[in-house]
């Protein structure tokens, strides 16, 4: 029987790779008997879905109110105008 630590590792691995059948069997068996790990497996999937939605919305990891500071905007502006008008 796997420990919770081993099961949690396989639960995570299953999101990044195909488990071998031995691993899958071990995980299923453990989950059938362990409510906490069952919850953990479910939550990892929710975490993944959440991050995917965050990625799609483009800015969920940074609020829309976050903007370039005025100082950096000026700095970038200068760099760009040098590139656009090299003669000046």
């Amino acid at each position: 029987m796997l420990t919770c630590k081993e099961a949690s590792h396989l639960a995570s691995k299953s999101l990044d790779a195909k488990l071998t059948w031995r691993e899958r069997f071990g995980l299923c068996l453990h989950i059938a008997m362990c409510g906490l790990c069952r919850r953990y497996v479910r939550d990892l999937k929710k975490l993944r879905a959440m991050m995917k939605a965050a990625g799609n919305s483009g800015q969920a990891l940074v609020p829309e109110a976050v903007k370039l500071s005025e100082a950096s905007r000026q700095r970038i502006k200068q760099a760009l105008s040098k590139a656009l008008h090299p003669s000046k």
């Binding site: 995570s12 953990y40 939550d43 879905a49 500071s69 905007r73 590139a83 656009l84």
Partner: protein, 190 residues
């Protein structure tokens, strides 16, 4: 050529903040994110004659920014990462006891899909990601936010084996889940 394309001097005003947020959500460092915006706009100016016109200018610029972000991650991963990875992967943690059983509470996550609509939740999520070691945050973001393949992440971040990658991902997930639990989900069900 679209209207915006012909006026690169307007790009900063039109797309600067969007590019900045996109970069910041990945690199988690304002100075680096600002530099990446500048590099992206400069690269855009240089490459604007190659713009094929199928994508919106914003999408096109984000495409350039994506490459810049990966370059940045790659450079940041050149030094001393092996030692760090080994330590991170083998370090004892507080999540499991000696027998390998959970020794933290796992609260039940209700309605996580609604969370992203709440500004406070987004703040908590950011804080939890920013509490990870930067390299681990990069790993997680490339995998979960951008859906990059495991092999490509290993190559980008100089992670020596897939097995190390899985171990690191597993640790990041347990850590992040626990942080969200403590600061959000555990507080919701009173």
């Amino acid at each position: 050529m679209t209207h915006e394309m012909s006026k690169p001097e307007q790009w900063l005003g039109l797309y600067g903040d969007v590019l900045y947020r996109y970069a910041l959500s990945r690199v988690r460092n304002p100075d680096v994110a600002e530099d990446l915006v500048q590099e992206t706009l400069l690269a855009g100016i240089k490459a604007k004659d190659n713009y094929a016109g199928q994508a919106a200018v914003q999408t096109w610029l984000i495409g350039i920014l994506k490459h810049k972000i990966i370059d940045y991650f790659r450079k940041a991963s050149r030094e001393k990462t092996q030692e760090f990875d080994d330590r991170f992967a083998t370090e004892e943690d507080d999540y499991f006891d000696q027998q390998g059983s959970w020794q933290i509470d796992l609260s039940s996550w209700s309605k996580p899909d609604k969370c992203l609509e709440q500004e406070q939740f987004i703040e908590v999520l950011q804080t939890c990601i920013d509490r990870l070691p930067p390299r681990m945050a990069q790993l997680f973001i490339l995998r979960e936010l951008d859906g990059m393949e495991s092999e490509k992440i290993c190559e980008t971040l100089s992670i020596s084996t897939l097995n190390n990658f899985w171990v690191m991902m597993s640790r990041v997930r347990v850590q992040l889940r626990h942080c969200l639990d403590l600061n959000w989900f555990g507080k919701q069900e009173l």
